[in-house]
Symmetry: C2
């Protein structure tokens, strides 16, 4: 799998070498997924492999980096058989081809515990240029790619918690949960346009708060502007309280970004070239408190939506509170 990357030495050595092209630097990110915590144990192995890779590619994309290579630590219980490993490898190969990335190193370990997969992804970007969390400024517009909430609603559907959903919509939401679509094609286009960015993995509002905390600003989001898929709209029409799930659920793997108002045209061009919607959902405001960032979500009448603690529950994570409901 590593033949095309000279510095991987065909995975026959103890380490790999990688250097950025002149003027670039490497951008590195690691993330681990654990069976029964981050994915259901019965998930098809090729989807597990692709999710393990893609959650990392999503972070690189949000920083504006072009992915190049990855290392893989695969920790497997004795119950995993050769067929599982073959299907897992097939998933890796698929995504390596899809994203033009190369496996350059790794480790295989045994465990008495669950399947555990650590990926370290390496991308590159011009020196000093990556899009940070901390660059959002008052009056910047908040944008998000794609659609929000599908994965969280897909998880609910998987758990049998959603009824009255047509088959196509159900399948769409499940797919969005099972296989993230990291915005790799769009990422490098954020450099020089976005003032700050983060990938949406903990949930739209939680990740917006993370961005605001590092940027030391507040934010206002208009709930009706948050882009929803037709399937998510169908769910929310039947169960209005599911809007909170969409706004606060995790695993979207979209890019949340901020940019000054005059960047709208350039973002429109980027959205077209990457064939990915980029939707304005709110604006950055001056921080009202010294040591905390406040994210307000407004309903169409301009009232703050009180998002309950349950709204912040994320599969495998502690609850988070995104600020007082106003």
């Amino acid at each position: 799998m590593a033949r095309a990357f000279p510095g991987a030495y065909g995975l026959l050595d103890d380490a790999a070498v990688i250097g950025p092209v002149p003027g670039n630097e490497l951008v590195v990110k690691t993330d681990t997924i654990v069976a029964s915590v981050d994915f259901p144990p019965e998930t098809a192995p090729d989807l597990v492999a692709r999710k393990a890779l893609r959650v990392n590619l999503s972070d690189l994309a949000a920083k504006g980096a072009l992915p190049r290579a990855y290392l893989l630590d695969l920790v497997l219980p004795a119950s995993v058989d050769e067929r599982w490993i073959a299907e897992f490898a097939s998933g890796l190969r698929h995504d390596q081809a899809e994203y033009g990335i190369h496996l350059i190193g790794g480790d295989l370990s045994s465990t008495p515990g669950p399947v555990t997969i650590a990926v370290c992804a390496l991308g590159e970007a011009p020196i000093g240029s990556i899009v940070r969390r901390g660059g959002a400024r008052p009056d910047d517009i908040i944008f998000v790619t794609g659609s929000i909430g599908d994965a969280a609603l897909g998880l609910d559907a998987l758990r049998g918690a959603l009824t009255g959903l047509d088959d196509d919509s159900r399948r769409f939401l499940l797919d969005r949960y099972r296989l993230p679509q990291p915005r790799v094609a769009l990422g490098p286009g954020l450099i020089g346009v976005a003032t700050a960015a983060i990938d949406v993995s903990d949930g739209l509002i939680a990740d917006l708060r993370h961005l605001c905390e590092v940027s030391r600003v507040d934010a206002i989001v208009e709930a009706r502007s948050v882009p929803l898929s037709p399937a998510a709209r169908q769910v929310i029409a039947a169960n209005p309280e599911r809007l909170a799930t969409a706004l606060t659920g995790g695993d979207d793997y979209e890019v949340l970004l901020t940019a000054p108002p005059d960047a709208a045209e350039r973002l429109g061009a980027l959205a077209r070239s990457a064939a990915t919607p980029i939707t304005p959902i709110g604006r950055i405001t001056r921080s009202l408190q010294q040591d905390a960032s406040r994210v307000l979500v407004l309903d169409p009448g301009g009232r703050a939506i009180p998002l309950s603690a349950e709204g912040w529950t994320h599969f495998g994570q502690r609850n988070r509170q995104a600020g007082p409901p106003g």
Copy 2:
């Protein structure tokens, strides 16, 4: 912990950036350790942290790379408390200072399984210069750093399988098992001198065979030349069959290297400057078979030592056979 490394952004962002100095490239290596597989679950947390780091630094050293930074994926069961984490962090800080390396990213996950720690270490070396596994040539001398077998005998001592050992020797062997001493100071000096190198983690003979396989050569090792610590000598004097444990046991984290006969003087200077013994233990020979490498271990009478299958058993690994016993 990451303040001194600008590209880590204080661990407040989603990715870190790192670039080699001009003329260098990055050398990357990842390795995972799992409680009850790679270390006893009751091991002190600071030692667990240091072992997780050091097994990776050992690989970088064997390739001639200078370590610079690492990423850490920490996967913890609910039973791990804050004190454990504080001691673990203390171990990381200790080794960061000792080796001049920086934590630049990571991930914290929960698991229903055992403590699992994946480290991705990044070092650097001049472009195209790292010491590979595949460069050993017939007539090269085989060298090894430090002493061999201590860790495997230390594991035996920990398991209560060694008797008649004085307290100091027992403590020495246990320490050698518990805390690898990667040859970081020596590593960069191997470039331009060693034709091939590998770190000894699976066991001296198994790793020599790995090196020979990629180099497509055979090897002859003189057992009496293999450097043993006084403690290991004491064990083997009382139990001669423990010589096989020393030669084939794992976790030495010494560097096994090959170099032409005329490099002996430069290696002597390197040994002095790094304050690390480098001992010749055998020689590389032409491969006798097309598709297999043969490692012979000779006793003082020139007879091949028949190393039994048990000799190849490694904690958490399958047995390996290093070739027919002659």
